[in-house]
Symmetry: C2
Subunit: 342 residues, 2 copies
C-alpha cells in the first residue's frame, strides 16, 4: 500500500499547509504556489530533445492514418485537439472497430506525467506512440516493420525524417516516428487563468474560483492533484474510503494497475489524472463512466476522502477547475498537410 | 446517350479550338482561358449566402463527431484537410465500420459542382451534409431528430447557431447544420500555379507543364475536364471507347448513375471528377481501384478517347496536373475548438 501511504502523507501535509497558509496569513497565492508550482513552457526531455524539425514532422505523423490497419486511425482520431486532446467517448474505438479497455486520456500536458495511460505500461509519450502502432485496439498494425514500410513508401516523408534526425543513416523508422510524435506532444502545454494567478495576477480568478481553490487544497484533493499539472505524477488507489464502483456504477470493475504488476497492493490503483482542461474532458474516470463534472467531484470526495460536499463548495470547486482550461499553442492548432501517396 | 453526345460535341469543339489556337497563333494562354475560366474566390450560393458566422460554426460542425452513431465520424474523418479533403482509402469507412460504396471525393472546390458524389443523388454541399448524418454508411444516425437532440444538448452551440441564423426562432436544427457546414465548404477554394498562369503569369508553369496543358486540351481530356474546376460540371459515361473495368480491374462493376435513375442511358455514367489537387487524391476513380496517377491518366485516355499515350506525353500531362495543386485557405487550416459536453 505504498502509494496509499504516500497519498495520506501528502494529503495530511496538504491539509496542514492549508490550515497554516489560509488561517495563518490568508495567503492563498503563497500556498497555491507551493502546492502546484510553475507550468513549464514545454515538456523537455533529455532523451528526446525538442527541435523544430522533429515537432514539424511529429505534428504530421500525429495525423497520419495510413499506418493503421484499416486506414482510419491516427493519434488525432482519439486525441482530437478540437476536443482538447480526447475524443469524448467512454472508450475509444480503434481500427476495425475494436474498443479500447479504458478511457482515452488527453494528450495535452501529458508528456511529463508518470505514465501515458491509466495503469503505467506506457511510460512516456514516445513509448506510448510506439506501442499504439501495434496495439490491436488502436492502430492495430501487424508489426512495427509494416508501419515503417508504409512510411518509407510515402516519398515525401524521407526529407522530413532526414531533417529531424540528421545523424541517422536510415532515419525513416518507428523509433524516430515515436521521437517525432513525442517532440510534438512535448509542446502541448496549455497555460490557463490559474497560471496567471500563480504568477501573481490576483484578478485572474474570480472570488468563487479562489474559494474553490482553497477548498480543493483544504479538503485534500491537492494531496494527489498537485504539481504543475494538477496531478498526473503518482499512482493512487481509486476508492481509498469506499469502493469506487459503488458510486461510478462501473461495469465491470477494473483492477487497474494490478493487471500489469499482479501485486495485491496495486488493486484498483490508477494513475492520478492531471486536471488541466478537465472541464473539457467529459466523460470522466478510467472507464468514462460518469459524464458530468459535478458528479465526478462528488464521487471523488466521497470515495477518496469520505466527505459529502455541500452544494456551494462543489460549485466553487467546479469554478476553480474552470480556471484550468488553457490555451493550446497556436502552432499545434494549424493542420499540417501530409505528403501524398504517389 | 445524351451525355455521351454532349461529351463528343464538346470534345470535338475542344480539339477544334485546340488546332485553331495552338497552330493558328500559338496562344496557349488564350485557349486555356476559354476552356477553363477563372476560379472564384469562394463558391457563393443565393440559397445559402456565405457569412463569417456560418463559416465559423460550419467549420466546428465539420469536426463534430458526437452526432455520429459510434461517436467517431465527422466530415473531417473522410475528408481530412491534411490529405487535401479526402482520406486516401479506396472506400471510406463510416460508423460501426460500415464501408462506403464508392470512393470519397474531396471537399475542396466541391460546393459548385453538379453533384457532391459520383452518381448525383447528393445535389449540393448542404444536401450532402444533411444526408451524410443519416446515411448508414457514414454518420449512421437513426434520424435527423436524434442528431438535433445531441446538438441541442451541447450548450455551447446555441449562441453560435443564434449568431449564424439570427432570423430563426429555434436555430439549432439539422437544416442549419447543413447550411453552416455548406457555408464552410463554400470557402474551400484552392488557387494554384495554374490560376497564376491563367491570370497571365507565363512562368507559373514549366515548359513541360505547358506542353502537358496543350496535350490535355488537344487530346480531348478538356472535353469533360473543363471549367474553373477542371471538370465536375457534367455526367459522362466512364468507358466511352472501352469498358472501364477491363482496365481498372474494378470488382464488382459499378453501374453508376443508373442505380439512381434506372435509365439505360445512365449505365456506367458518373460525375466527371474535378481535377484540382488530383495529384494528392490517390487512389483514383469511383472505386479507388487505381493507386497511381500515371496509370489513371493512361486508363482515361484509353477508355474515354481510345488513345495510347506515349511516355513523354503522359509525363507532360502529369506535370500539368501538378500545377493544379493549390493552397487551402489559412482560416480553414486552423483547428476549431468545439464546445464541451457538460
Amino acid at each position: 500500500m505504498k502509494k496509499t501511504k504516500t497519498f495520506l502523507v501528502i494529503s495530511i501535509l496538504s491539509v496542514a499547509l492549508g490550515c497554516f497558509a489560509v488561517e495563518g496569513n490568508n495567503d492563498l497565492l503563497t500556498q497555491a504556489k507551493q502546492v502546484f508550482g510553475q507550468l513549464p513552457k514545454a515538456m523537455e526531455s533529455e532523451k528526446n530533445p525538442i527541435t523544430p524539425e522533429k515537432v514539424k514532422l511529429g505534428k504530421m505523423l500525429f495525423y497520419e492514418t495510413r499506418i493503421s490497419a484499416d486506414g482510419t486511425v491516427s493519434c488525432a482520431r482519439c486525441h482530437p485537439l478540437s476536443l482538447y486532446g480526447a475524443d469524448g467517448l467512454k472508450k475509444s474505438i480503434g481500427s476495425n472497430c475494436r474498443v479500447n479497455i479504458r478511457n482515452a486520456p488527453t494528450v495535452l500536458n501529458a508528456a511529463d506525467l508518470i505514465a501515458q495511460n491509466w495503469t503505467g505500461n506506457r511510460t512516456d509519450f514516445e513509448d506510448g506512440s510506439k506501442k499504439s502502432v501495434i496495439n490491436p485496439l488502436t492502430y492495430a498494425m501487424p508489426s512495427h516493420e509494416a508501419a515503417e514500410k508504409i512510411l518509407k513508401g510515402i516519398e515525401g516523408y524521407r526529407p522530413l525524417f532526414e531533417a529531424a534526425f540528421p545523424a541517422d543513416k536510415d532515419p525513416v523508422n518507428i523509433d524516430n516516428f515515436a521521437k517525432a510524435v513525442g517532440a510534438f506532444g512535448r509542446t502541448l502545454v496549455t497555460p490557463s487563468p490559474f497560471d496567471d494567478f500563480l504568477a501573481g495576477k490576483q484578478d485572474a480568478l474570480t472570488q468563487n474560483q479562489k474559494q474553490g481553490l482553497k477548498s480543493f487544497m483544504d479538503l485534500g484533493c491537492a494531496g494527489c492533484h498537485s504539481g504543475a499539472f494538477i496531478g498526473g505524477k503518482t499512482y493512487t488507489k481509486f476508492g481509498i474510503a469506499q469502493p469506487y464502483w459503488k458510486y461510478t456504477k462501473s461495469e465491470p470493475v477494473d483492477n487497474g494497475r494490478y493487471e500489469i504488476t499482479k501485486q495485491e497492493d496495486d488493486k484498483y490503483v490508477f494513475k492520478v489524472p492531471d486536471l488541466r482542461n478537465v472541464v473539457k474532458a467529459s466523460p470522466y474516470f478510467h472507464d468514462g463512466s460518469v459524464a458530468r463534472l459535478d458528479e465526478s467531484i462528488r464521487i471523488m470526495s466521497k470515495v477518496q476522502l469520505d466527505k459529502d460536499l455541500a452544494e456551494p463548495q462543489l460549485a466553487d470547486i467546479s469554478a476553480f477547475l474552470e480556471s484550468l482550461t488553457g490555451q493550446i499553442p497556436d502552432d499545434a492548432m494549424e493542420i499540417p498537410i501530409l505528403p501524398a501517396t504517389r
